[in-house]
Symmetry: C2
Subunit: 260 residues, 2 copies
Amino acid sequence: MAIALIRKLEQFTRLSAEDKQVLTEITGRGRVFQPREDLVQEGDKPSQINVILSGWACRYKQLEDGRRSITGFMVPGDLCDQNIFILRQMDHSLGAITLVTVAEIPRAAFEELTLKHSRITQALWWATLVEIAIQREWTVNLGQRSAFERMAHLLCELYLRLQGVGLTRENSCEIPVTQAELADATGLTAVHVNRTLQDLRAVGLIALKGKTLTIPNLEALMQASLFNPNYLHLDREGRHLNANDINGVPSTIPGREAPL
Amino acid sequence: MAIALIRKLEQFTRLSAEDKQVLTEITGRGRVFQPREDLVQEGDKPSQINVILSGWACRYKQLEDGRRSITGFMVPGDLCDQNIFILRQMDHSLGAITLVTVAEIPRAAFEELTLKHSRITQALWWATLVEIAIQREWTVNLGQRSAFERMAHLLCELYLRLQGVGLTRENSCEIPVTQAELADATGLTAVHVNRTLQDLRAVGLIALKGKTLTIPNLEALMQASLFNPNYLHLDREGRHLNANDINGVPSTIPGREAPL
DNA sequence: CGCACGATTGATTAGGGTCAATAATGGTGG
DNA sequence: CCACCATTATTGACCCTAATCAATCGTGCG
């Protein structure tokens, strides 16, 4: 099921039924990873593109002395490392956080996809550029924001990303991550993550029951963390490419769009 | 003068005389920016590719309350934002640190370049992937390392990057950056940057006269900062594409390579 | 039911921040 | 060549955020 991927890419541009069909086919077989299992390890030779179909994973780097840094979270629809084949070996690892289903797209299949479907290719580029922008924003987050702002900012980002793939309802979403993992991602200790989350709850910016995060007032949370969503580039920037649009290359019969 | 760019790309693969010729032509006209002048501002519509020919620049983001985060340094040979055209607006700014000469490559010219010169295209991809890897490493640096390690790590990286484009001699290089800028890049205050640099000097890991950085023992500095150079992907990973190589597509007459 | 793992709490410490003043530097015009 | 000014670098005193260490409490699950 490539639903998340399709939803994600449609944040950039509208895809045709054929585009969706192709994406669905190419992500057909999902491989399952257990929590804490590595999808890819540092030092591996990149051999395929991974698309998260369900569950959460993360990119991380381990320092020699054991410190671990989570450099990014990967949620359903996220696609990693197009063009990575150019590199000889991975400089970081990808690890499953929850039970994860991953579509592994071989290099050849991916190259064929991008060769034949320019609208998808553009959308994949958009996804890659957003990923880079997120990485930059994490740099800002770690370098400039206080623990309180930093946690709030991360939660804003995750909420919006999940919303983009349809994984929120009302003001809530699932954040299936331990506080220790949040610590490795925010550069805080698990103890301080705990206290910071309590602070955020105390002022009513968030609510947590189990792994369910509720954000009663997203605007307020964004303001508290100096969150500017521009780096997620969510405003359908590729709408000029929309399938069936006058400027696009229509490849479907109007009315035959596949349901989402 | 595209010397730095060519040297940089040749860390990945050997280019043919024609490749070099094309790169030299496309980066011909250099535009000059004064220190502190912005090459590109947040909110701008991306309209061209920039290649740093000489001088230093940085990527930065400014928070609403004035805090500034430098998310990366750009040195001669660095090329920014291929494929950025897909996005509607910049989510960060590029600013000159020193006097900077920049080649501004229009979109069309860039696309023609990548269309016709696959070896260059691959090399540019390599450069982009390295840039992403650097951004990830900065995340690690800010999240996990102490001030001492962090500064040491940054200096290792800058030294190696400059070395890659021929801007080191002996154990020294120019780092034309103020301590305030180092502060914005490391997430420290200028005061603490100053103290940290003093600490690094005190233990003999670095020497500084003016803007000249000397690293008497790079191995030692790398060890002190848990620096693993693998993320820079410097081991000529695209050597199978080398011009004149049996696997490559020879496009020059042997012996007619342009001098570096 | 008991066992892990994750969350929470408390007490204490330390790494960096803040504020404020002073000393170098370097570029400029005369 | 020098005086002047604006940056930039350096130092000191003090403070505060977040780390550390060490229990204890919950809770999901076999």
